[in-house]
Each structure stands twice: as C-alpha cells, then as structure tokens.
C-alpha cells in the first residue's frame, strides 16, 4: 500500500467513527445474522410444513399440525421433561464437582504447578467425544471396571440407562464448567479475601459472603455449556442410555423422514435454551463465558 494513500485512509477512518464501526461490523453481521439466524428462521418456518407420508418429500403447505402433534402426544411431552431434568442434573453435578477443582487450581496449588494443572483440565477436551463415550460404555458394562471398583463396597454399577446418561454427560462437559470458574476465581482480588479475614470472617463465611457471589457469574457461564450441550445431545444417549431417548434423539430420528416435524421438535430445546440464556444474562454470565 502506498504510504501516503494509507495515511489518507487512516485519517478518514479516524475522523469517522461510524464508518469504522460499520467496517468492523459488516462482515460479522452478514455472517451471524443473515446466514446463521436466517437459516434458523427458515428451518423453523418449515416446522409449519408437512411431509408426504410415503416418499418423505416435504409438502410446502401451511399447517400447525406438527405443533398440535407435539402438544397432544404424551411421549413427546415425557421426553421433553426428561431431557430438561437431565440437563439440570448434569449442570448441578458439574458445578459441585468443578468448584473444588477450580478452587484448588486457581488459589491453592502452588503457582509453579498451575500451568500444568490447567493443561490437565484442557487435555480431555482434545480427546474425541465418541471415544470417551465408548470408554464409559466399557466402564459401565456388566462386570466392567466400575463394577470392579464398587464390588468391595458391596455395590453394583448403574448399568446402561438414564443414570448412566447423566453420569457420562456430566463427565463430558466437566471441563467446560471448570474453566470459567477457574478464570473467575483467579481474578478474585486477594486483598478482598484478606479484608474479609481481617474483619474476623471464618473460611466458610468468606466463602459464602465473598467468594460465591463473586464467582457466581462464572458458574452461570459454565452452566450455559453444560445445560445446553446436555439438552442437545443425542449420541452419548445412544451409547450408554440403554433404551432411553432424549429430545435430541427424537429430532435426529425425524430429520430424514419428516423434516418439518423434526424442526417443530427442535423448537423445544431452542426455546428452553433461549429462555435460559436470557435468565443467566442478568447475572452477567454471558460476559464471563
């Protein structure tokens, strides 16, 4: 670029903040709003279409039939509620497990090892999702490693089924919960904690009145991942779920035969997640993701 020419453009940009803003935003907006939200809107529009029962060709005539089926068929309602329960359970379990780990890595472990510990949290994210799910299938199998471990205690693994699904999903999404909490705890000013101690607060009191409120946005940020990833999953369920089906499975099983019905079913998790995002946004969680 010619140097004076470059300076001329730079000068023009400097004088016109609106021009700078529109240059910054045009590409991302084209991408996210037009392409992404546009495709989503088109998909949900197709929820009002129907399908030829034999050829599975989409018949483009307007009808609310799919939503009527959705509301009147009890199995869809049961599955939606079950999926919601799974997502909530996974989120709670992950928060409970992740907090001590994040607290240890961010505030207790000696700074020399912190790097290594963060690497240790990140590594599982690189191991294939499918391979981890199949590893759990072996863990949970009859007479498998989990049964081995529990045998001395006189217990038995849960086998394949709903509890297994919750366990495995909680395992798969755990790093997504640890990382934001770790980041949140790390940014906690040390003098704030000292002040709390100086004022006579015991460990537990400091934790409840200072630490927890301050990292709550981070926990909420992690929960966005654990909650929404659980709500949309359909592969781990097939691997360890026994005969369980979740809303993702219903969407998946209808995609090819009845895309409009799949789209209608898909509105359920989408609506739940959008509501959830709006709720956690108040806590400032989206900024902490």
């Amino acid at each position: 670029m010619n140097d004076t020419f470059g300076r001329r453009i730079a000068g023009m940009l400097h004088r016109r903040p609106r021009l700078r803003l529109s240059l910054l935003l045009s590409a991302p907006l084209l991408w996210l709003v037009l392409a992404y939200l546009g495709s989503l809107a088109a998909l949900f529009l197709s929820a009002f279409w129907t399908t030829d029962p034999f050829t599975s060709d989409v018949v483009k005539s307007w009808s609310p039939d799919n939503f009527r089926t959705l509301l009147t068929t009890s199995v869809y309602r049961d599955v939606a509620l079950r999926s919601l329960a799974v997502a909530v359970a996974v989120t709670v379990i992950d928060a409970v497990i992740a907090f001590p780990i994040a607290f240890y890595t961010a505030r207790v472990a000696s700074p020399r090892y912190r790097h290594l510990l963060v690497v240790a949290i990140l590594t599982p994210l690189w191991a294939s999702y499918l391979v981890k799910a199949y590893a759990w299938r072996i863990m949970l199998s009859e007479g498998g490693p989990l049964d081995w471990l529990l045998k001395p205690l006189g217990l038995h693994g849960p086998g394949y089924g709903l509890p297994a699904v919750i366990m495995v999903l909680a395992y798969l999404w755990l790093p997504y919960m640890i990382l934001p909490i770790h980041a949140g705890l790390e940014q906690l000013p040390a003098n704030l904690l000292d002040a709390s101690a100086d004022l006579g607060a015991r460990t537990w009191r400091t934790f409840r009145s200072v630490v927890l409120p301050m990292v709550f946005p981070s926990i909420a940020a992690g929960s966005v991942f654990t909650f929404s990833l659980s709500l949309g999953d359909y592969i781990a369920v097939q691997i360890v779920g026994g005969k369980t089906q979740l809303i993702g499975n219903l969407v998946y099983s209808n995609i090819t035969l009845d895309l409009p019905l799949a789209a209608a079913l898909g509105t359920v998790p989408v609506a739940i997640i959008v509501l959830y995002l709006l709720a956690v946004r108040r806590s400032g969680a989206l900024a902490a993701i």
């Binding site: 392409a35 034999f54 060709d57 049961d78 299938r137 072996i138 007479g143 498998g144 005969k243 090819t256």
Partner: protein
Amino acid sequence: MRLTRTLVACTVLALATACGSSGSSTDSSNGAFTPPKLSAQKTLGKTEGTVNLIAWAGYAEDGSNDKSVDWVTPFEKQTGCKVNTKVAGTSDEMVSLMKTGQYDAVSASGDASLRLIASGDATPVNTDLVPNYKNIFSSLKLQKWNSVNGVAYGIPHGRGANLLMYRTDKVSPAPTSWSAVFDKSSAYKGHVTAYDSAIYIADAALYLMKSKPSLGIKNPYALDQKQFDAAVALLKEQNANVGEYWSDYLKEISAFKSGDSVIGTTWQVIANLAQSEKAKVKAILPSEGSTGWSDTWMISAKAKHPNCAYKWLDWIVSPKVNAQVAEWFGEAPSDSKSCDYTADKTFCATYHAADEPYWKKVHFWNTPIPQCLDGRTNVTCVPYAKWVQAWTEIKG
C-alpha cells in the same frame, strides 16, 4: 432477511409446480403403486471420471482402513472412475442423502428402496448394461423391494437374516421360537435386546403371524390398523424387559460379551465375531422364520455420472468382488459364482448363500405403504411414517 424471502419464493414456486406432481399416484386395483415415469438408460456412454456413492460401512472399501481390503482402487484403475464414498448410518440417512442429488448410486436396504422409487429419486436400471446380473441368484431378482411391475430398479448386492442370538450359559432351555423375546421375555428382564429401528415392528408382526393366526397377518410389512396395533402392543410389553436397543454391531457384541444383553435379534456376522472372541453365544433361525435384509444398488435419477455408476454396479456384483465384500461385511453374496472366490471356503455354507429353503423362511425388509403389499384392497395399511412414530412411542 434475504434468505427467508428466497425460501418463501421457493415455496410459492413449489406450490405452483412441483407439488402438483409430488406424491405418487396409486393404482389400487393390484395393490401396487405407480412410480413417477422414468426410463432406464438404453446404452452406456463414456465414463465421467468420477462416481459418488452412498454405502453402508464396509461396502466400498478402498484400502484406507485395511490395506488388504480394497476393491475400490482396482475399480478406479480399470474404469478411470474415481470413487467418493459417503458412509450412511441408517436407511433414513440414505434416503435424505439421495434427495440432495449429489450422489450417483446407493446401496439401499429394502426399508428405503421403495421410498426412493416412489419419490422419483431412484431410476429404473437397465440390467442388460450390467453383464454380471445374469449370475445373480434368481430369488433375489425382481423382488418387491427392488422392482415395480416387473421393472428392475437396482442390482441385488447381498442378503442376511435377522437371527435370534442368546448366551448359552445364561439362557436355558435353548430357545427355538421368537416367543423367548416376546411372551416369555420377562425371564430375562433388563437383558433383552432388539434392533433399534421402526422396521423392527415387523419382527413382532412376524411372531404374531404364527402365534395369533386370528389376526390374519399374511405379510409382516402389510399391516392394517388392527394388526399394527397388536404388534405395537406386543412391543410395548417387550420394552419393559429390554435392556437396550442396538443399531451398530460393536454395541451389540460388547453387550453380549459382558452379559448386559443375553437374548435378542442379531446378524450372522455379529454372532460369528462374538464367537470368535469366545463369547458363549449361539444364533438360530427360529421356527417362525425371521425378517431379513437384502440390499440393492440403485442409481439416482439425478445422477451426474450415470455411466460410472453402471460400471460400479457391474463391478460390485462381479463374482470376485462380490465375494470380497460379502466376506468383509459378513453377509450372503448375491452372485451365484462368488462362492468360488471366498477366502474362507466354508463361508458360503455358514451364510447359507445358496440355501434356498433357508431364504424361503426369511421375510425381507420392505417399505410399508398404504396400499397393502400383500394384495389386500379392502383395507388400507399403516404407512412407514406411522411406524416411525409408533416406534418412538414404544421406546417411551
């Protein structure tokens, strides 16, 4: 939002034109349907240099998984057609992939083939252009799942039966009937397994065909509402005792080895693999017979590389290649000459390749349609879309 507007415009167009022709017209007099008018290619032209396939895993091996298992590279060398394969996991996926129009040929099972024919996605196949077609077992030619009114829509690839497998150490007495997984399944509560697809409803129908003759089921793929309801009720009862439904074979093998499953449907290849790993299992063809699958290589109506596709069809049923693919996948070959080429000389016997009385007992997968496939004209049958919905409800 420009995208939405484009879609709306498409909708209007589609309503005006395409929708008029969508949905196949039916000829109720003989219980068959009339597919869209398409005609097969008369002659072979120049090959196009490439061919896009949709296949079951293991049907188009190019040596990338196992160097010694490769019948795609020799094909490419011989014909100059480069092969791109998309592996499909389910029949439904095959149907939707075919609808994209990006693929030239598909190895469709019977629960997909009629759908492809009716929607006009698959075109008739001129068997004269497939020299190896003459060696194919006659019991596989021009069947209900690969032809309409005597017009062939594909080349048979291979076949297999859905057998009953059980753990010899945990199931006694040894079962001889499907009743072990239906009426008597409570003995193995939590350890029964079944194939995870709506087409499994036909297994229940087959059992009812023999155990409840009063229902009058003649063909497990042609069920009127009453017969269908009975089959669904039976499966809902069975669901209480099911541990898991399987759709891939690794899942089934590991479940039988560990004992998570002790009895349920299987394929011959799964039984063989499990036995080779010393699992105490046995697979039988129960007294009622069984359901089964027969795959067909079909050509897309929108194929951009039809000549290469024809070359592939001929290649995959040539005796040597058909033997290779049958052995690798674990199914009975369709080419009668291929038994001379199998590496394992007992292979054809194990898989009953030429055992016609055996295949007489097997009811091959077909797509249920409103026009009853058994020829009844006084009732309508439950179409496959309803089967799928019922399957969701059975699993609960």
